[in-house]
């Protein structure tokens, strides 16, 4: 009987090599990939998220655990693909036109990937047309947009309006975030969800596709 608690603890402590090795060992011991995920890795990452949101963990701890999760997922991927359920979904993310920092976005990407999302980074300073093109041509489940400056917040609304005008709004769920964005503003502009931080973004993304 393989001890998945140990795997969970290894992920929580952010030990990348050990998490990878234990994932491999679990597979070799015959544990189903989905069970490794559901009983070891996901509860581990949930605990990391809880500690981050409660101020016990900070970016360094969050990111090494995210990296450990990513590495473990890569090991599980062949088995998960066979079982049909390799990814949570596809996520396109970008910082709207004219915006400044992308520290938040990098960390959100890392955490989404750690949680099994296939993420496309549209970059920073992304014009509305680029978001539209991604939605039009891609098969994304969620579009995430962030704005950190009050000057660029209006671009979030503009992009949502443009999606509507192009008949693309129903094709995708839209999440917004960033320092000056509030839940009320997200609702006002017709976004489907608001993410307060990287962990919240992951929780909301899962909720949006009905997997929470």
């Amino acid at each position: 009987m393989f001890d998945l608690e140990k795997l969970k603890d290894s992920l929580i402590s952010g030990d990348i090599e050990q998490t990878e090795a234990l994932t491999e060992a679990a597979l070799e011991a015959g544990v189903a990939a989905k069970e490794i995920l559901d009983k070891g890795l996901i509860p581990g990452l949930d605990e990391v998220g809880r500690r981050f949101q409660e101020g016990e963990y900070f970016f360094p701890e969050l990111l090494v655990s995210g990296e450990a999760m990513k590495k473990a997922l890569a090991r599980l991927k062949p088995a998960l693909t066979k079982a049909g359920g390799a990814t949570m979904g596809k996520y396109a993310i970008g910082t709207v036109r004219g915006d400044i920092h992308d520290i938040g976005k990098n960390i959100v990407i890392m955490m989404l990937e750690g949680n099994g999302w296939e993420v496309t980074d549209l970059g920073i300073d992304v014009p509305t047309e680029t978001f539209l093109k991604a939605v039009r041509e891609g098969d994304y489940h969620i579009l995430g947009m962030s704005a950190l400056l009050t000057t660029t917040i209006p671009h979030l609304a503009e992009t949502i309006e443009a999606l509507k005008a192009e008949g693309l709004r129903d094709k995708i769920k839209v999440m917004v975030g960033g320092v000056s964005v509030t839940p009320a503003y997200a609702e006002q502009i017709g976004a489907d969800a608001y993410g307060k931080d990287a962990v919240d973004a992951v929780i909301e993304a899962k909720r949006l596709i009905g997997k929470s």
């Binding site: 360094p60 990111l63 400044i100 938040g104 009050t150 000056s180």
Partner: protein, 361 residues
């Protein structure tokens, strides 16, 4: 009393004749809306700003053009940065991608004379009249943004702490030399920009802050003090869990007591007003961008009431007067400081917060 004296007294927690103000950056759009065609320097005079800020990233760092169409540059540390349509450079690719990169790394030369041209101009025009405040970007910020990239930097703090410390030490050596040169040219004060926190809290734990952030900040503080100057530490975000550590480095002031992160000027004054000068606190987020002049006047009066007693307050925006700030809101802030910031503050307010009076509730 002139601007230099006002800011000096405020940083020393002594009462000036009026609460001082200055801005590190006023976007051209805002300046143009208030007085078309005015130069940056003339604008600060028009606003009777008590200090002139010189951000090092804009005045003393070298950038080489890589791709004009994409607004892509290589900064002086070797990182690729993209300049967005409305703001400064955003890191795209860090300078150090492996330990080998750092072994071969050649630091830029802080002694290049051109770096101090803007400072010389400011000294020539304002020395002795208005405070000349040089930006000196925080070591943590330079290493994170230009040397390693944010995600790698945070992970290396756990996985490769020695590399982070080695790079930090080299950048510190550069920055101390830069500061020394600025002092020789005529800088009065230093402004250490670079965030330690986001709106939700510190980026790193207090334990890691003590190991990776504070030693370098403290080294800069001690160097500046040894040379007879004073220093302001800037960090946006919810800073309370690191506040004691920052104060303990010996900084003379902390900016901006970020209202968007829920930091309260009264709380800062009651707890720390007897130890440091407090700066900022006028929200350049929703308030200055979308608020009305009346709301700005109210917030400015509150800032003075809570933070002004006994000196130790410089009232200014919580980051900068960026392109989205309504010009009339910036003007309302400045007018209110001039009107309600004159000492004794008891002439304007009857319930001032007492510095060091204890726990704020």
């Amino acid at each position: 009393m002139n601007g230099l004296e006002r800011i000096h007294r405020a940083l020393k927690r002594q009462e000036p004749d009026r609460v001082p103000h200055f801005e590190f950056l006023v976007d051209k759009k805002v300046r143009e809306a208030i007085k078309p065609g005015i130069s940056n320097e003339d604008f600060h005079v028009l606003m009777d700003a008590d200090g002139i800020g010189l951000p090092d990233k804009n005045t003393a760092w070298r950038y080489e053009l890589v791709n004009e169409g994409e607004r892509l540059y290589r900064d002086q540390w070797g990182a690729l940065v993209k300049f967005s349509t409305e703001a400064g450079g955003i890191p795209q690719e860090p300078a150090i991608k492996s330990e080998g990169d750092f072994e071969r790394y050649v630091m830029p030369d802080p002694d290049e004379d051109w770096r101090y041209d803007k400072l010389r101009e400011a000294v020539k025009r304002f020395k002795g009249e208005r405070a000349i405040i040089c930006g000196a970007t925080d070591i943590f910020d330079i290493v994170k943004e230009s040397f390693l990239g944010d995600v790698t930097m945070f992970m290396d703090m756990i996985r490769n702490p020695e590399l982070v410390k080695q790079i930090s030490q080299r950048v510190l050596d550069y920055q101390l030399r830069y500061i020394k040169n600025c002092l020789e040219v005529g800088a009065d004060f230093f402004f250490i920009n670079g965030d330690y926190a986001t709106t939700n809290g510190p980026m790193v734990s207090p334990k890691m802050a003590a190991e990776f952030l504070m030693p370098y900040l403290k080294a800069i503080v001690e160097f500046v003090h040894q040379n007879g100057a004073l220093l302001i530490k800037h960090s946006d975000g919810l800073l309370w869990p690191l506040f004691d550590q920052i104060v303990d480095t010996g900084v003379d002031g902390i900016h901006p007591i970020d209202p968007e992160a829920g930091m309260d000027m009264g709380e800062a004054k009651a707890k720390y007003g007897h130890r440091i000068c407090l700066l900022g606190n006028i929200d350049c987020g929703p308030l200055l961008t979308w608020g009305t002049p009346d709301e700005v006047r109210q917030a400015t009066k509150e800032c003075i009431r809570k933070g002004g007693k006994g000196g130790g307050l410089i009232c200014m925006s919580s980051n900068s007067i960026h392109s989205g700030v309504k010009p009339e809101n910036y003007l309302a802030m400045v007018e209110t400081i001039h009107k309600y910031g004159t000492y004794p503050l008891e002439d304007h307010f009857d319930n001032l917060v007492i510095p060091g009076s204890g726990v704020w509730s």
